[in-house]
Symmetry: C3
Subunit: 397 residues, 3 copies
């Protein structure tokens, strides 16, 4: 029995052929097999590395990171994933401005891709823009490949857009799978994805949307809770509903944090901006109405301040299943009395969950690596077996 | 018959020994054999990569990029070339200012080169400075190597200077060789290297100079066209004349874009700044006369505006051989109605040539890699054979 | 007899087991065996590379560089060392501000370290902060590793802090060992670590402190010279005294540059800021008293200007042993008439020692690589033998 056997066996049951040479934009565009394929490969790569076996599949090649805003965590996760597989990261920084579309995208996408195997994009700042931009880039490099400009077609990984945050949601899910001892054990578990107060404004919606769009697939009872006015994208709520129906779970909404926390197995309290406000902001930005943006910002902060009671306190935690629900967060959290006066979570709660939170984050590089792996490797089982068999040390010791 | 046979055979006929441990500054400092050597290695490396054979010749080592201005394309081309051969890129950003000369150059050049195999420099902003600076760096690292400071001598690649843009011109030439089916087929072909209107000012002269300095070597009829007052460096015109004489081609000048386009097989309409204006700008900069620079900028933009008719329109294209000359550009182009109100080229012309333009650009990483390869490898034939024979996969799949 | 034999033999006599999985913060926390182990590995790695044998011990992994201020030299040294061993460098730039402490450090340290093998930190700007910060990071990743968050524990290399500059001091020492033909030949040699005038202010104390804290271990006669008021950290002077007693050398102080230079075998004239002023500056910064900082700066520059005669002139050099002491500097130096009107050293002196100075600097990447090597490899002798035996070419040629 070799290390890779159990992963290979699981993969044998999955249909993953459409992932080859394909992008990863939204989890709900992927089949259940494909989602499980990513989890399986992520675990397999972690197992190889843990056993000091190099999972490198590239001898050369670039992984291009294209970030619209500063990001330490995601940047390092993407860099780690690329490096693990043998790609060198090159950053393309286009500033924080709303990026040019159309011809410029087409040209730039090709110009940076002559030796690129992967492009990771984070563009979550403008509603209706980020995901659209990623698809434009994907189309451009596909055309470039068709026309013989690009010898290989770089595949795209969505590192966070205005709609979904698939690498975060899947890392969170893999953390749950590990904590509960298997994907099958998620069935019937209640998770509260709830809004929480933060003194900052404009936090992206991609995390709550990603979570309700993904976790409803595993038969979980997913509750989305937020004050009135903090609605997320309705399209994603529709996705969640359909997922729940299919998986035998449920998707419900409430304006009470208490109700969401009641008997929850997992809680995910996190601030976000109202979808309609973010839409408005994008329009204001498009019109160059910076005065309007300033006013919107003030209004949103004032609106937030009405809901300071949406905090994950010890009292709130007592409402959860046995008072000991698993606490999730994508980090960094706004911790009351630590990073701000009043925030998303009480310091004592956060502190108690520090190690699990860091473990949650530790899955992200492997999730990204798995997405890259499945988009680049035609026969994942064969390659996993080969990697174990080659047994190249990641580090001499 | 192996993949590399035809390249090795061609290389057997060429004398390339002076390229070993040497820099690449100006194409006209290189022999015909050496120019053909670079094309041949570029094609061979592309062939290896296309066949998923890694052309890596370094197990470690740094490729240092030193750019005086922002550059996405050239930066990614250099990074791609280094990565393909096994070097890790480290950027040395010294800002856009005119770099310090003398002692500082000598010291910095050595301090960054302890493990550097290649240094790629782009410094095209000041007449009389860029190329001079590169040679200073080269001299400094040669001395460092002689004195035992540097275990290896990093070789330099000119990624664009005030005189030549060898990696661009050679990528353009390799594109022509591919389009016309062989270097021998360039003989007798007419190319129009012409000025074109742009609403921006101060575009470097290195592209037109690089083109007339290189393409005159292949027996082509090279026509340089520009409005009066947009003369390029006279030294390079002399180079072009001598090249043409030797190669059996021709080098002519005209102030008529129409004349240049007439029956041309290839057109290269592109804006540039007058050489004398750029010289003046360098002096003003040297004297810290920023008011003078502002005035010069205004004057140049006004001068440009007198020549808005220098545009590569559909009508102009009709003048070319069968109305279907190959259109070249180093990108990004100023496209009328797309990137500016009035520019170098009509949108419909540009659009028709998009794929060939991207292909043209795709040769640059391979040209750079070939320059590095020939400066680092003593027996290129032997190493190509070894790479094919080792047959290390660039990517498992 | 193989290349590595003499290094392996020397290593056989040394107890290096505590270096495994450990950080390198201060030279005086390391045993004599450990100091000599670093020198030995540095020489061995240089020998391997010189013989075109790759000393790569990592197939993948990140080396994270965390710099508080701009640094070309140290940045390239760290990047070179990482690259030589197979790690890819990722920069974490947190700006020049005094970094956040406590919870944020703990979190960030873990978030960047999922696949990090090494973290190199340069934080020399605030007294009492830099070294403390490094230890916080170390503690955080150790906890992360203990809790199963990090599969491996990244080890830290101090690339300069407020107390010591171990990679510089050890590179300087290895230079001396090479110049004098062996570590045993340092015994009885006199080195003058002296202050010198510079028109800039606030230069770190870590170089003089690092030098007196290290060179006193080799039986040298170490003289620390500076004008009154330019005292260094008293704790480090205590270290120097104890070292000297143990090694049979001496540690003396003087306020006369002439006395220090008299019959010196080695001179190291270099500007630094008074310790008490730097302490005051840290407090002012902590209180956000920028007016106070401005005033302090003016006072310090005025204080410096009283000591323009502290310059390493030809006359001063004549006082040294046979008028030909070895001149050291960590670079860049303030050279009179070259980089400033009046500075640390006369141009003719500096120029005469240029090659040795560059050689001095060339040891730093190898010292860093050796520190990494010993923190990552359990059996250094075995691995050196394996690397030579595997005989993988660093570069095909």
């Amino acid at each position: 029995m070799t290390l890779m056997d159990k992963y290979i066996e699981k993969l044998n049951d999955l249909d993953l052929k459409d992932m080859y040479n394909n992008d990863f934009f939204l989890t709900w565009e992927k089949s259940d097999d494909e989602i499980e394929g990513v989890f399986t490969i992520a675990e397999a790569l972690r197992e190889l590395r843990k056993n000091n076996i190099s999972p490198k599949i590239f001898d050369s090649g670039l992984g291009i990171s294209l970030f619209r805003d500063n990001s330490t965590r995601t940047r390092f996760s993407f860099a780690s994933a690329c490096n693990l597989l043998g790609l060198e990261v090159q950053d393309l920084d286009e500033g924080k401005s709303q990026i040019a579309h159309g011809e410029t995208v087409r040209e730039t996408a090709n110009m940076i891709s002559f030796m690129a195997d992967v492009i990771g994009i984070r563009d979550d700042m403008y509603i209706g823009k980020g995901n659209t931009y990623m698809r434009e880039v994907s189309k451009a490099v596909q055309e470039g490949h068709n026309e013989g400009v690009l010898e290989q077609r770089p595949t795209l990984v969505n590192l966070q857009c205005d709609i979904d945050h698939p690498t975060q949601a899947m890392a969170d899910a893999l953390h749950l799978i590990n904590e509960f001892g298997g994907i099958e054990n998620l069935k019937g578990k209640k998770i509260a994805m709830t809004w929480a107060y933060s003194p900052s404004y404009g936090k992206p919606l991609s995390v709550p949307q990603g979570i309700i769009g993904l976790l409803t697939r595993f038969g979980m009872d997913v509750v989305l809770a937020h004050p009135e006015g903090y609605e997320v994208m309705s399209d994603v709520e529709e996705v969640a509903k359909k997922n729940a129906q299919k998986s035998g779970g449920s998707f419900t909404k409430t304006n009470s944090m208490e109700e969401a926390f009641k008997d929850a197995d997992v809680v995910y309290p996190k601030s976000w901006a109202p979808y309609i406000a973010m839409e408005k902001r994008t329009d204001l930005y498009g019109n160059g109405d910076f005065e309007g943006i300033d006013k919107l910002e003030k209004d949103l902060l004032a609106q937030n301040a009405n809901h300071k009671d949406w905090e994950c306190t010890e009292e709130m935690m007592k409402l959860t299943k046995n008072g000991s629900a698993l606490y999730l967060h994508c980090l960094p959290a706004d911790i009351t009395g630590v990073s701000c006066e009043a925030g998303e979570v009480a310091a004592s709660v956060f502190d108690r969950y520090r190690d699990p939170l860091y473990k949650e984050a530790s899955f992200k590089p492997y999730i990204i690596a798995a997405m890259i792996f499945l988009s680049k490797v035609k026969n994942p089982q064969e390659i996993l077996a080969k990697l174990e068999n080659d047994n190249k040390a990641r580090k001499l010791k």
